[in-house]
Symmetry: C3
Subunit: 354 residues, 3 copies
């Protein structure tokens, strides 16, 4: 545009070049041409706008999660006797973060003190390797009548963690419930929302329980239901431990206020349960409770805790109309539209029709 010579710049500014047009009257060429135009328009309207919503600017969710587990269980073991477990006992860490652990099985080693004792031989399981759980003193002694091992300085007696109970001790854990409070923000759009929806009232929340069909908005989940939705067996998972992901999907289209923009829950096991290549299968960790005897010596109860860790994972993208992606997408489509008219057909018609 604008073939301006320098001596007449003002006049030239209002000059405008155009092209001579020749109208071709051909049903065949016209039909194909209109079809392609239609396909491009269909792509723009159908795919870009409706399916992909490419006219929108997007933002990623930022989120805060609070959890609260409820329920009481009872175990009867030789180590601990009959014992009631409440939330302060089995919920670790206690402060209700987005990742919480429910203890369901354990190996308890009470009354450990800093002293020396014979190393535990893993002959129990017919392997010879020693379990390195202390510092060798250099002495060796009889571990049992038949086995001789070396003495170690450690928390004694040593933990024998080979005989894990075959069934989860805290069977009742499957009926525990957890209340999940989730607050999300899309900072770019200054949008805030909570998973406890405003139209849900307090009395409903006092007694409801999440069910995908009947109660999809209730934020109280029975542990067994979540494990079942992930297509796992609760008692199997409770015995050796595992990690369960509670995924909350907050994908939202903010252009339509009447549109549902709320949490969509799904559940998936996150640790590897496949038997091959599973070093340390399941999920467990060791922690200790420390005591002092009357003479001031420190003693501890070591607990190897097996259980299910629940990770609340919040993700999502919100989209809202924005000029830039709209212009970009419509521009790209128009380029194709104009190329269809100019590039290909001009050649076709030059050769055959003119």
């Amino acid at each position: 545009m604008g073939g301006c010579s320098s001596q007449s710049c003002h006049r030239c500014f209002f000059e405008y070049e155009t092209e001579r047009m020749i109208v071709v009257k051909s049903k065949v060429v016209g039909s194909v041409f209109r079809l392609i135009q239609f396909l491009i328009l269909f792509y723009v309207i159908g795919y870009v706008c409706v399916v992909q919503k490419s006219y929108q600017e997007t933002d990623s969710v930022i989120s805060s999660v609070t959890t609260k587990v409820k329920g009481t269980g009872f175990t009867n073991t030789s180590d601990l006797g009959g014992r009631v477990w409440d939330v302060a006992d089995y919920n670790i860490p206690p402060q209700g973060e987005s990742s919480f652990f429910v203890l369901t099985n354990m190996i308890v080693t009470p009354n450990q003190t800093q002293s020396t004792c014979p190393e535990v031989s893993s002959m129990f399981s017919n392997r010879i390797t020693l379990l390195k759980k202390g510092i060798q003193t250099g002495l060796c002694m009889n571990y049992s009548e038949t086995v001789k091992t070396c003495e170690v300085l450690s928390w004694c007696p040593l933990e024998i963690d080979i005989n894990l109970p075959e069934h989860a001790l805290l069977v009742a854990a499957e009926d525990f419930t957890v209340l999940i409070k989730n607050s999300v923000t899309y900072p770019k759009f200054n949008f805030h929302k909570r998973n406890i929806l405003p139209d849900v009232n307090s009395s409903y929340l006092k007694q409801c329980e999440f069910n995908r069909k009947t109660d999809p908005d209730c934020p109280i989940f029975r542990l067994k239901d979540m494990v079942s939705e992930a297509e796992e067996d609760f008692q199997t998972m409770a015995t050796r431990g595992g990690v369960l992901g509670i995924m909350i999907d907050w994908n939202c289209d903010l252009d339509w206020p009447e549109h549902y923009c709320g949490p969509k829950y799904s559940f998936r096991r996150l640790d590897n349960k496949i038997p091959e290549n599973n070093v340390a299968p399941g999920y467990n960790f060791r922690f200790a409770k420390y005591y002092k005897t009357t003479d001031g010596r420190e003693t501890r109860t070591l607990i190897k805790a097996y259980g299910i860790r629940f990770d609340v994972i919040v993700f999502g993208t919100a989209g809202k109309f924005n000029m830039v992606p709209t212009i970009v997408n419509v521009g790209a489509a128009l380029t194709f539209l104009s190329l269809v008219s100019s590039v290909k057909w001009s050649h076709l018609q030059n050769t055959h029709y003119l």
Copy 2:
């Protein structure tokens, strides 16, 4: 382009098709045409480049946070007597993660042991529902002179959590301070930065306190100030507990090194404080300290802890010039520019001016 016949491909490679141009000299058409061109250029330069910075490639922040609370408080209760609280007492978890909790109010149930006791009736609050906190043994007995409840096996005596102190016990918590260290990375651009800016010296940091106007770069925050910025009352929030978000916005334009690329702090309450539909309002959790008596029996002090959980939430996007989005955006604008010249005007001129 390139209507080549196969027999003369080399010559055809240098052939080039062009169009006959006709220069239209009309002040009206020219003016409108230039105006539209100007609007498109204005959109490209003003909106796409300056406002939206669409010529940039973007990356999301990854972050690591360390927190350290300071302060000492004093409480005087019938259960515990006069007692000083330091950071090891009220800060849970202690290890200074991005989410930390300051205990401000509590219900303490000391000297619990595994035994049997009458179930607590919630007649206290004129409701009849029993608080299920143990396993029923089948026996029933007198809870008080007027109320008869059933015996449970549990941690006894049971917690009576109905009478929460009306005012937060740890009043001094509002003057506690927290040092937040935040280190961010934009991996795509290999950009690293900390919220303690390089031009801030050590002596300033020893005594400063964040203030939006006078000390916006100080990473030490008084708890009360943060709650006030979120438009909440500290003592009200401290009584029943709550969750406060400390948002750190790291949006950066990395094309301009002299531009400020630093943390922008804001504060927002994340839990639901609206009275309706608030199941378990506020924020609290239960934890226990375990002891052993001289005869080896386990006993515990159960604490229902109310307080403020502070969630440090880091978010942001960095942008830097990149060819692809630039080409895409300029291309889209040029499409419109060229369409303005070719599509609409050609028709107008075909009909009226030629």
Copy 3:
């Protein structure tokens, strides 16, 4: 397009306008024209497709991490005597989250009780400022023969945290190992993967150790190796504490299933080690173990814990072919291609060649 008059709309639908083409035979113009076409094509194919992969739709990773530390250490201090440390002692929090702490140095203050004692003067370090660690009672008394300080109500005796051991107590920590299990999801593409790759077998995992050259897929890391890769000295870092980032990069191109889509590990120190402007350098926190004496009084052991916090930070973007970005990018390139042919050259040729 479509100069249709309203009376014959059906016929006009099949009309198609085209332009008269003039083939210019000039080696110079043709060469330059082809060169520019080639450069644009080169940009599209080389840069957009191969380097930037702009034909792809992208998604951000969501991830779950489990960690398990192994190792036993021994310390010999005047406070605690000879003592063996196992994972339950030094790993805080114990439950194997994405952020875990290994205690390597400490200041222990045993047998603290709620009582009154003289405030600690920081004359130890030749500064006069008092360490505010309690509530002043109003009385003043002799702290030592030469120094007189005021009495405070606090956990007494007060912690004297000025004399940190110059060498990390838990020297053996450098040989501890950590198993990191990381499970990632790209929800948009329904893609799941773990950092323990399927072709790795269990016996290999039992004895392997990460090494960038020889064992890049082993998910077991020696603590010292990680610190060395971050170009830090383990014992220096262990003495005053620090934060080490274990970055796992999951950038994946999902269009090529045979392509490697796996974790890429890197390590970087996240806290500020530069001596200037380092308020509270290193990383430490205080926690306490609570005991009860035979007469029911509470006593505690306060531990100021120094050590290395390891933050496992997972990030990454997956890309997969998608129509919209492809159309947008090809469209933008075609715009430039068509502008090259129409705008500039038409003017050039109008003036000089026709």
